[in-house]
Amino acid sequence: MDEFIKAIKFMLTSFFIAMIISFLTAGIIGVLTSIVRERRGERGS
């Protein structure tokens, strides 16, 4: 039973880490893409 609780803990820890890192990556991509787009817009005007 102890090991099962450990398994649940590992599962939840991995889930939260994976979720945070995934959305962080999405955030980094989003921010960098918008910066590049803004700079392109400035150059174009």
Binding site: E3, F4, F10, F15, S22, G30
Partner: protein, 399 residues
């Protein structure tokens, strides 16, 4: 008579031992033949299943008496661990150099990942990063839930994590995790993983049709082509993400690094490397992966209760991941007030590009004007990255 029997010792050794061993050998011959036939008829992935099937047939028929007096074969000895045993094995078993130098350290997974990387278009991921990662994390439901389920069925935490990775539906990552965390179950987990990965193409369309109304399957989406992402941007993003992940997850750094090396080579336009990685490296690695895995599937591996459980857990993992992905797709459909086709969720399962093609095929069948492949490929690539992150978490926590 003895000389004749010595010449045909394969036949003598095949039928020599007890009835149960002979039955399992015959069963394995049938399975190997079925894999070859399935590959030939294209309902299994031929690149992997034909060499694997042949390997299974050969390793269970080419039986001879080895110098130590036991019945064996000349293919590979996965049990050799000490340096002198490995050196001796390399002299005897013809696939031993491939196994020792590329399997036991995860290199084969990395080589395949380089090939996948060089074939992957990250355009779509960069255009819709949040949608893609949301679907990808939803489609990891099986990778998470199978861990405690496997543990309940009696597997230790390391083996449970390796089995759960089948839910990530990414062959190289399944290899990398199982060789690192469960070397003893590595063959069974990887063979089951690849077997199921080659049938998800047939399984998931039924799930989609059973769970999502036809009206929603055929939702048309705005094309992404108005947003332009330059090769330079993709090159820069790949480099940044690769280094960032390497910093965060050193245990999965070889795998993540190999994938992004492929992506970077593609975006840098280094055609010679690109051709080499796409054709020679990926084809060669896949061929030897399939053949060596098949050659590892001998009776000793199959005569094991755990294999049956892995077969059950593998399909549970993939079904849960599919369900999670579709649920994620449905949540996005609701959040965007009907703009997102919920079928996209299945593409979050990172079997590149199979699940993206499945999503597009189902959408086209429901509505020929529904083009969702760009979004699907974004979720697909995000799925690979998310699975690599989970692999890193499991290895770091459990190694």
């Amino acid at each position: 008579m003895k000389e004749v029997l010595d010449i045909f010792q394969g036949i003598v050794n095949f039928f020599g031992p007890d009835f149960s061993t002979v039955s399992v050998r015959l069963l394995l011959l049938f399975i190997g033949g079925f894999f070859i036939y399935g590959g030939y008829k294209k309902f299994f992935e031929p690149l992997i299943m034909i060499p694997m099937g042949l390997g299974i047939c050969l390793v269970n028929t080419g039986l001879l008496v080895m110098p130590d007096g036991k019945v064996g074969n000349l293919f590979v000895n996965a049990l050799a661990e000490k340096p002198d045993e490995i050196i001796n094995a390399i002299q005897v078993y013809f696939l031993q150099p491939v196994y020792t130098l590329t399997f036991s350290n995860g290199l084969i997974a990395c080589l395949i990942f380089m090939g996948i990387g060089v074939m992957t278009e990250i355009d779509y991921l960069l255009k819709r990063p949040f949608y893609s990662f949301f679907l990808a994390i939803s489609a990891e439901l099986g990778t998470f839930l199978t861990l405690p389920i496997a543990n309940l069925l009696g597997f230790n935490l390391r083996d449970s994590a390796s089995i759960a990775m089948i839910g990530g539906a990414d062959g190289p990552i399944v290899i990398y995790t199982s060789i690192t965390l469960s070397p003893k179950l590595f063959v069974a987990i990887t063979v089951v993983g690849y077997l199921y990965l080659s049938i998800v193409y047939a399984l998931y369309p039924y799930m989609i049709k059973a769970l999502i109304p036809k009206k929603l399957i055929g939702i048309e989406m705005v094309e992404l082509s108005e947003k332009k992402i330059s090769a330079g941007q993709k090159f820069a993003f790949s480099g940044i993400i690769c280094v960032l992940f390497s910093l965060l997850f050193p245990t999965a750094s070889p795998l993540i690094g190999s994938f992004f090396l492929g992506v970077i080579i593609r975006e840098a336009g280094v055609e010679r490397y690109k051709r080499f990685m796409e054709d020679t490296l990926l084809s060669g690695s896949t061929l030897f992966l399939g053949f060596t895995l098949g050659a590892l599937l001998s009776t000793e591996i199959v005569l094991n209760r755990e294999v049956l459980l892995i077969l059950i857990l593998g399909i549970i993992a993939l079904i849960l991941s599919g369900l999670g992905g579709l649920f994620g797709g449905y949540v996005l459909y609701k959040l965007t007030k009907g703009k997102i086709n919920p079928v996209l969720g299945i593409a979050g399962v990172s079997c590149v590009p199979t699940t993206a093609k499945v999503a597009q095929k189902c959408a086209s069948e429901a509505n020929p004007r529904a083009v969702i492949i760009e979004y699907a490929m974004g979720a697909n690539v995000a799925g690979v990255i998310t699975t690599a992150i989970i692999c890193a978490c499991y290895i770091s926590l459990l190694k």
